[in-house]
């Protein structure tokens, strides 16, 4: 079967799933985009499905009733300060990622609902086996220094990122999948990725969710701030460390809107770097800034209730992982881990931490409310009888004492307190060990008796770790649940899960993947190495004269089509 026939058959399969009611149109959109089907094809598939619903983000700033576009002007935004020198290869913090996203672009971008959309790549498709992906690049794109963007730039960028010596977080994500030399320029607008193994979700590894994979010029040698070259809509006009940054529009940007108007609409965006969330809230309410890239729910009630402001809500796949170290008592017994899961009132936790805005999780990564297209795991409600019976069966009829290590960061301490309170009635006495953020991630991550070094977050008996959004369940599982995972806080090494996951990652056949996902999900719930009680929705607040701010979540702040009205 040729690749074209394969794509056609896959598309037909998706339509059938929608018509049978097993998939929504939104889920079709996501699965089709992963497969690299073109926008035209996807449009035809959606038309073939007829009308049906699908969940979307709530984005008042991008609503259909927005006023006519006004070009010009300067938008003022507030973000946390970049923690270190701006470098797309090694960024990992919110401030740095937001800024790089303005200047550089990715092969693939993410929509407000985490679907893949073409950016520097117009299309992508795997071979039959799924271990060679061919990307067609957008022609006529230039870097802001006039240099044309071509396949050779993709090759150079991916060779840097896949090299462990680069220090990039992308290297860990690409490990075992893509190595230096595996990316090949077929012609100036065609790139081929020769993977070490079949990997169905490969497009997600080069989309904006993999924030280090911003496309850089082939002669990039570091020192990005001195020479901030990118294909994006903005260029750096001025930058002051720990203070702020002004971006001016890139006059040679390739992007145009649906009416053919040159993007971006705005002349400039001024970013204020503000460390303290309360100070940022006050600046927004005082209209010192127009938009807050991320509004933290805790402490943000005055912003969320301010009648002058509107709030965009993006469903995100960010989580707070409650990991139980499966190599340390009492967590060696799955029944004890499950008992903790049944102690939690997830609805109450969601209400307390996020005002009920987040999506509930049930300890499985294959959660269809945030990862459309996957079968829903069995819900888990608070059930103290079940928790006690599990504890009793595991040899703890009188309960037990445990220690929960948590970093003093964001809402993590509040979550720890809720866990402590909700576990108590079952006889699980949780002692909270709250330490600083730096202390939580300090130390080594490899070697030692555990194989995970001595850092608290990978070695504590029980801990809470915050994870930024990942676009697929597979990326999470790869990072946290395999014996080879670098960030396996639960130290879980389950051969059955590993074997199933390897099959899942290597097949592109949807029916097979769905079946495997169901098995993986069930296994996660049965074993409960981690508790995932919710998937956090991201909030973005702005003044009512700000329109069309795009980009899901806390990192992907797309203002190329944003504008200000009077």
């Amino acid at each position: 079967m040729t690749d074209e026939q394969h794509a056609r058959e896959y598309g037909q399969h998706l339509v059938e799933e929608v018509l049978k009611g097993k998939m929504t149109r939104r889920q079709l959109l996501v699965r089709a985009s992963v497969f690299g089907l073109s926008a035209t094809v996807i449009g035809n598939l959606l038309a073939a499905c007829g009308s049906s619903g699908g969940g979307t983000a709530s984005t008042p700033s991008a609503s259909a009733s927005a006023p006519a576009v006004v070009t010009g002007g300067s938008l003022k935004a507030v973000i946390p300060p970049p923690l270190k020198t701006l470098d797309p290869v090694t960024i990992y913090d919110q401030g740095g990622i937001v800024l790089v996203y303005q200047i550089c672009e990715y092969l693939i971008d993410l929509s407000n609902t985490n679907a893949l959309i073409p950016k520097l790549a117009l299309s992508w498709a795997p071979n039959q086996k799924g271990d060679v992906w061919t990307f067609k690049l957008r022609p006529g794109v230039k870097f802001n220094n006039g240099q044309p963007f071509e396949a050779a730039d993709v090759v150079a960028t991916m060779d840097i990122l896949s090299n462990p010596k680069s220090g990039s977080g992308a290297a860990a994500a690409l490990a075992g999948i893509l190595s230096p030399g595996d990316t090949v320029a077929v012609d100036p607008t065609t790139v081929q990725f020769n993977l070490a193994k079949p990997f169905a979700d490969f497009p997600y590894l080069v989309c904006s969710a993999s924030y280090n994979t911003a496309m850089l010029p082939r002669n990039y040698s570091g020192n990005f701030l001195k020479n901030p070259v990118g294909t994006g809509p903005w260029t750096i006009k001025s930058y002051t460390v720990n203070q702020g940054c002004t971006l001016a529009k890139n006059p040679t940007y390739w992007g145009k809107d649906a009416q053919g108007r040159q993007l971006p609409y705005l002349d400039s965006v001024v970013y204020s770097f503000v460390t303290d969330a309360s100070a940022a809230n006050l600046q927004l309410q005082a209209h010192t800034v127009d938009v807050q890239v991320q509004t933290i729910f805790q402490g943000g009630q005055s912003v969320l209730n301010d009648p002058n402001l509107k709030v965009d809500v993006y469903p995100s796949t960010g989580i707070r992982e409650l990991a139980m170290n499966t190599t340390k008592a009492p967590w060696t017994d799955a029944r004890v881990r499950q008992a903790v899961a049944y102690c939690l009132d997830r609805v109450a936790i969601n209400k307390a931490l996020y005002g009920g805005r987040s999506n509930l999780g049930y300890d499985s990564l294959w959660e269809p409310t945030v990862f459309p297209g996957w079968p829903a795991p069995a819900p888990r409600a608070q059930d103290y009888n079940k928790a006690k019976s599990l504890l009793s069966a595991a040899g703890h009829p009188s309960g037990l004492d445990v220690t929960l290590t948590v970093a003093n960061y964001l809402e993590n301490p509040a979550y720890a307190q809720l866990i402590q309170a909700q576990c108590k009635p079952a006889g699980i006495n949780v002692k909270i060990n709250e330490i600083s953020y730096n202390a939580y991630y300090a130390g080594t991550q490899t070697g030692g008796a555990s194989g995970y070094g001595n850092t608290p977050w990978l070695n504590a008996s029980m801990d809470i770790t915050e994870w930024g959004s990942r676009p697929t369940p597979g990326q999470y599982a790869q990072a946290m649940l395999l014996p080879t995972s670098a960030w396996n806080s639960s130290n879980w090494k389950n051969q059955q899960f590993t074997s199933l996951f390897q099959q899942y990652e290597s097949t592109a056949d949807m029916a097979t993947r769905t079946n495997l996902a169901t098995q993986l999900s069930t296994l996660m719930q049965n074993e409960t190495p981690v508790v995932i009680a919710f998937y956090i929705s991201q909030l973005r607040s702005q003044w009512k004269n700000v329109w069309n701010v795009q980009g899901p979540g806390s990192f992907y702040f797309n203002v190329s089509q944003a504008y200000l009205t009077k």
């Binding site: 020198t85 010596k165 290297a171 720990n242 460390t275 600046q283 005082a286 730096n438 070094g453």
Partner: protein, 316 residues
């Protein structure tokens, strides 16, 4: 006087050496690894080890201190570990300039106001006005600046929209705009310092008013204005000047809360960030500069006191 100043200047050297050693040692016990911080929690362990080696973080502490100190005293302050394209010197100078501007603006508001209020209260000792001034100034002193700062922002920036919530204007604004943006950050400082300095001025005034020479001046028939300005102030302000001198160092280097609340890039703000992020070169430079400021401001205060009081001047 020259001997006095010379002695004080010489004492600064061992003090600064001791401070630099203390900061270096204390920053070693802070949790976290520099290479891990720079590359983030998701970078490979091998990359972290490589970076630590490149930055010399795997060398013994005394070796690193000696290397750093040698570079520092010869003017090579190095680059920031966090912001590798920025020299420590340029960051510190930029931050210090901001801090001096805020401190200077705050002092312009604080000093004349406090002295006027304190002397006024002292001249009307035990009156209703004196009690009102004492109670209200004491009350303002105990309100932490992060509380008064937030209240001021809510009232003047959010509700009334009279003043900006940030302490720094947008980049490219004319320099004069900076004073408009400094009004709100300076007010909590004024509230905090007013009570303390005014009380010192009041106490000094009351003590001087009880002196026999003031009674003599009054009985001689000198106008009250002349008694106050020629005899009372000169002697009453000695302790006040000392207190102001001791506060200058804090106003320049200790305003971390105000700088964070108003997003003001002063030296205190940079120092705390450097401490949290293991940026040792920047941390050391900030601490030493602040220590120098404290020492110089106290020295200047002592010199002014000596100029005001000939007995202290002659005692050397």
């Amino acid at each position: 006087m020259a001997r006095f100043i010379g002695r004080r200047l010489l004492l600064m050297v061992p003090t600064l050496i001791l401070v630099s050693i203390l900061v270096f040692v204390l920053s070693e016990v802070l949790p976290g690894d520099l290479g891990r911080f720079i590359l983030g929690p998701y970078a490979a362990e091998s990359s972290v080890v490589q970076l630590d080696h490149k930055l010399g973080f795997d060398k013994p502490i005394y070796e690193r201190y000696v290397q750093w100190a040698g570079h520092f005293v010869t003017g090579h302050w190095g680059t920031s570990y966090q912001f590798t394209t920025e020299s420590v010197f340029s960051i510190v100078i930029h931050a210090l300039g901001n801090s001096l501007l805020l401190a200077g603006f705050a002092l312009i508001l604080i000093v004349p106001t406090s002295i006027f209020v304190g002397v006024y209260a002292g001249l009307r000792r035990d009156s209703a006005r004196d009690r009102a001034i004492t109670i209200s100034s004491l009350s303002m002193t105990v309100i932490p600046e992060f509380v008064s700062g937030v209240i001021l922002i809510v009232i003047f920036a959010v509700v009334l929209n009279w003043l900006p919530a940030s302490g720094i204007p947008p980049q490219g604004s004319p320099f004069i705009d900076r004073f408009y943006y400094l009004i709100l950050p300076a007010i909590p400082l004024m509230l905090l310092e007013l009570g303390y300095i005014a009380r010192m001025a009041r106490v000094g005034t009351v003590q001087v008013l009880e002196q026999p020479y003031i009674r003599t001046a009054t009985l001689k028939g000198l106008p009250k204005r002349r008694i106050v300005f020629s005899h009372v102030l000169r002697n009453a302000l000695v302790p006040t000047v000392t207190v102001i001198g001791s506060q200058v160092g804090w106003l320049i280097g200790g305003l971390v809360v105000i700088e964070t609340l108003f997003t003001y890039p002063g030296i205190g703000y940079y120092m705390v960030n450097a401490a949290l992020n293991h940026d040792q070169p920047l941390l050391e430079a900030c601490v030493l500069v602040i220590a120098l400021i404290y020492m110089f401001s106290n020295l200047i205060a002592d010199v002014v006191v000596a100029l005001l009081n000939p007995r202290i001047r002659k005692a050397g």
